[in-house]
Symmetry: C2
Subunit: 127 residues, 2 copies
Amino acid sequence: METRRDVFQAIADPTRRQIISLIAHKSMNLNAIAEHFEVTRPAISNHIKILYECGIISIAQTGRERFCRIQPKNLREVADWVETFRELWEQKLDSFEEYLNALHSKRKKNGKAKRRRKSHIDTKKNL
Amino acid sequence: METRRDVFQAIADPTRRQIISLIAHKSMNLNAIAEHFEVTRPAISNHIKILYECGIISIAQTGRERFCRIQPKNLREVADWVETFRELWEQKLDSFEEYLNALHSKRKKNGKAKRRRKSHIDTKKNL
DNA sequence: ACAATATGTAAACACTTGATTACATAAATA
DNA sequence: TATTTATGTAATCAAGTGTTTACATATTGT
């Protein structure tokens, strides 16, 4: 409960992801948010607290209402992390070896050269 | 334990994220992976199982060894989700209203027109 | 002033999670 | 064949999580 949560844990919960999507383009106060979900208001209140503590939303109090607004910049940590793997999935290579070839010989247009390197544990078929 | 986990939960654990990074460019068998961490092998074994069940890694068995390889395509769900917010944080707007203006009047180069709309809950200051 | 509204918080609870230790099994190796 | 190696699994446990109900507090409206 008092544990330090990070952004990845914050977005691990589906309800919290829905909250993020819900207020992405429209600030809403807590009750308005809670109306979109089956769970009770205190449950949403807790989710909001977590999102706030992780810097994913900001809260602006006006009178008795607290408007929650997305703080998109701080989702960047997630984006940055997952982006480091984009190069992997965007290469249409079907084997690790081909990937290595492409990576290590970028000068050539043809990264699919079939040359074999000395045997290495990672070059075994099916990896 | 038997719960259906999704990709977001899979990457919520820091150890699992480290495993993903570790094998991103190099398939490794389970013991090799475990050597990189403080926790015991069974703990890593369980993480591997979760990553596998979430489609983040594939496992190729050769003899008694199981080589874990990243399956980067399936990290795409995360990338796709977080990408939907990129437009938000890449806009250097400092208020929601300005964001709306920019969004609703893209024809104009100047999205910062100060025109006011009829009062609405979302237009209160500080949101 | 009083009632309604918006929200926080605490206690309680079931369930999940991440971890360990101990044991089991299959494959490689001496 | 006996031993080491790579790995899975089960039992157990402490902590953490998400939720509810019940109550408290501050603000707004009548």
